[in-house]
Subunit: 137 residues, 3 copies
């Protein structure tokens, strides 16, 4: 499996393990000191894979989530570093019926650690978000 | 074209030929004794490509269908066998206005038969399904 | 990067540069004499990359657009020509609230010009389109 295939498979697992709530498998996809910047969609900048997984479990754990990624633009920079841009769409439904439906792009860096590609940084930009309030709103 | 490309192209044809209702082309994508398990989304377990195509023609033939697949995780097991997981989204609209809109994953096995990859088995798991009744409901 | 990767990256940029309105970058993705046939979705046949970019800026410039492409079927014909089919979904929202949400396939030809793959022709076929009128309708 070449580096393009391996990075695509990494991101494929990112989406599947998040949406099936396999948080321990999900944790393994990141460099320990990953930087996640979701400030472009009302979030914050988070440093550290454990902190990020805690944040995410708290934020979307109770929701049904569907995250899809499309048409990656992957660029290999060195034998152990790469960058990529992914188009994305996400749908989140909370128990009270609140729905968020968004579109945008992930801008990411990857690093090959002990032979496996991991996510080194992520920044999310948004094209559009639809919001539908739930019962408790 | 390497095996990853060929298996992606096989699944791409699966989606396109189903949604454009090219059932004879669609039939060619499967091993004769394919096993299709859609019990996770209210269906059943079907054995045999001809039986599956008959089932599908009957079930979704009159509907406008849109099936999209995303971020495959393909693993080559032997020179002639492979497995894959695909994220999926489908939208079905029946003549009476009934709409089903679902999300999930295909878990599949592939086999190389006479130089061409085919689908050997498929199991569909669902994350979420939205249902909108039509006029006759 | 092999030709399959390069053509996928070309189309990935097509979607991203259109939706982020980077029209000068978008222009570079096409052969000068590209033929764009959107007659299948209420449009026309347009010849020439400059004419097409003018048409598009005029038509969707004020709208928020999200175009996603899926499961390409790419075939290399000669060392410098190729063809591809992409499943697609697009969402367009105009300032007055008008929304168009469509599904279909791009049928394309590509040509390698000075070492870079470009889009040589495009024909769009539609499976389904939803239309939601805006305030001014």
């Amino acid at each position: 499996m070449d580096d393009y295939e391996a990075i695509r498979a990494l991101k494929a697992r990112y989406f599947r393990l998040m949406d099936t709530k396999d948080w321990s498998g999900f944790r393994q996809l990141f460099c320990d000191d990953v930087v996640i910047d979701v400030s472009g969609s009302g979030g914050e900048v988070i440093t550290g894979a454990d902190v990020f997984v805690d944040f995410l479990t708290d934020r979307i754990g109770p929701a049904v989530t569907i995250h899809h990624g499309h048409t990656p633009e992957i660029e290999l920079l060195t034998p152990t570093t790469a960058q990529g841009i992914w188009a994305m769409e996400d749908r989140l439904t909370w128990p009270d019926g609140t729905r968020v439906h968004g579109f945008g792009h992930y801008h990411e860096n990857y690093e090959k650690v002990d032979g496996s590609w991991r996510i080194r940084s992520q920044r999310l930009t948004r094209l559009h978000t639809d919001f539908q309030p739930g019962d408790s709103s």
